[in-house]
Symmetry: C2
């Protein structure tokens, strides 16, 4: 049994981490650390340090805090010799992910940068279909309503909060998982509300060494139907990944149709990594966002009022 | 004799590349490609493609164009089987440098991402001094007058032009060369003139796995004395690298005092890489800038009027 503590009892911990851990017979949630109230049925502490000093024995820690403060918390957990799961994005910068990997290796513990969208049911089928195919183009449409999915999460608009890239990076985590070739950004245009630091919309152009045309349209202000779709056109067919990766159609025929259940598979991977003494800390999706911010043209748009 | 063509006959090509090639007996400048006039004593063409098709035989190509269009030009040169030298920064994005490295490897030619400041006379002495020392802190002061050093270079203010990071990345290229440990960004504040896309000033905080405190102050609007200094405080002494790396003092005593001669050493390295069939394409300095843009808070400041 792997004894887990959670740091940061916000929306994602309550909606996903706690139920996934509860449903997994290999895992047990034994404590949480949170600045706010955390009535989740296990001992709660005001900080990670307090949980480590005064709480029950722990093997692993899942960090569900906003990315801006991820590094310091992760370093404390790794230095204490705990296996660490990082919610996405794994850090505020690409560089700090490398730093945490080095520290985990030194400590002999597992570091898992968990990109939850990669655990969507359709992703393995999409990856298999793309392998060996001649790919012409990829189009990503990732549009959601921030007011519905991120109520009161002011950190998302601050510097390092990623804005629309917070959901958009999920699409990029799938893209980098299913594409047989390395992907890089060739152009970006960003819309930034005049009262915040991070973009509310972004349009990206990406490519590969073979010159595949990849476009991405990210929007954080989408009302009405929500869209998390990736369409891949190959010489001999079209694959469509929708509902965030839970559904796959090939040439219009359903191949995978699942309800969203990313976190149970994500925790199964964490368990597997711990048991085999390995780490997995891929920072490519975040590197694509950093590159988009590096070359993106910025346009000021109307203030965002939640 | 390595026959070289230059693409982009602007300020840096005229000030540095052409004289350095002329002074090197292993190299010969045989052609240039330029959008503008290029009366430099060798056949001139309107584009890289024209130079490749109609010009004299070439072994290597030095790309001295602004970074925004670097990738396409580099790909054409590598696909033509030429060794390629990239002026700094090596690309508009970190990802495209990896892409170009992969293409160079596939083509069996040398790719050299040339960070000219690393060839400043004092850099090897600084690197040697830091090795094995217990470093407490590093402070970078890199302040210059854009109107003096970059007259009419509007591209520097556009998206992907880096603004003050265009000189600042020189300091970061030295930092990553002399520090024994990996460096990463922990905080950034950026000042962006209201009429352009790129910052005119930036203050960075960086660190290492051992927790060394690194600060950097970049300013593009410095009039009067110009400053390109790096100060490293170790447990047992202080090293000061000044004049962009040409001068080194240890505990106040001069150790290296050279006039700037970065490009001859840079071209000697290019020759060595070509002869040994190796590539060198380090993108770490650009990755630090991308990370600074990822987490940096942005402040709008007065318009920049050249």
């Amino acid at each position: 049994m792997i004894r887990i503590g959670i740091v940061g009892v916000g929306k994602i911990a309550r909606d996903q981490h706690i139920p996934a851990i509860a449903a997994d017979t290999a895992l047990e949630l034994v404590a949480v650390a949170s600045h706010g109230p955390a009535d989740v049925g296990v001992p709660a502490f005001g900080s990670l340090e307090a949980m480590l000093e005064q709480g029950p024995d722990l093997d692993a820690i899942a960090l569900c805090t906003p990315p801006q403060a991820r590094r310091e918390t992760a370093r404390i957990a790794l230095r204490a010799g705990k296996h660490v799961l990082l919610e996405k994005p794994p850090g505020a910068t690409v560089g700090e992910v490398g730093d945490l990997s080095a520290l985990a290796a030194k400590q002999g513990v597992t570091l898992f940068a968990a990109w939850h969208s990669r655990f969507a049911a359709g992703v393995p089928a999409a990856r298999a279909w793309l392998t060996g195919r001649s790919i012409r183009s990829v189009d990503i449409q990732w549009r959601e309503d921030v007011r519905h999915w991120h109520p009161g999460q002011g950190w998302i608009w601050e510097a390092g909060g990623l804005g629309v890239f917070d959901p958009g990076i999920n699409a990029l985590s799938i893209l980098t998982e299913i594409m047989p070739q390395a992907v890089f950004v060739t152009g970006a245009h960003l819309q930034i509300p005049e009262n915040v630091q991070s973009p509310s919309a972004a349009q990206l152009a990406l490519s590969t060494l073979d010159g595949v045309t990849i476009t991405a349209d990210f929007d954080f202000l989408q009302t009405g139907p929500q869209t998390w779709d990736i369409t891949v056109v190959a010489d001999d067919g079209t694959l469509r990944l929708s509902h965030g990766g839970a559904v796959v159609e090939i040439d219009g025929k359903p191949v995978v149709q699942a309800t969203a259940a990313e976190y149970p598979a994500l925790y199964a991977r964490f368990t597997q990594l711990i048991r085999s003494g390995r780490s997995e800390a891929d920072s490519r999706p975040l590197a694509l966002v950093a590159d988009a911010l590096l070359i993106g043209t910025r346009e000021r748009v109307a203030a965002f009022i939640e």
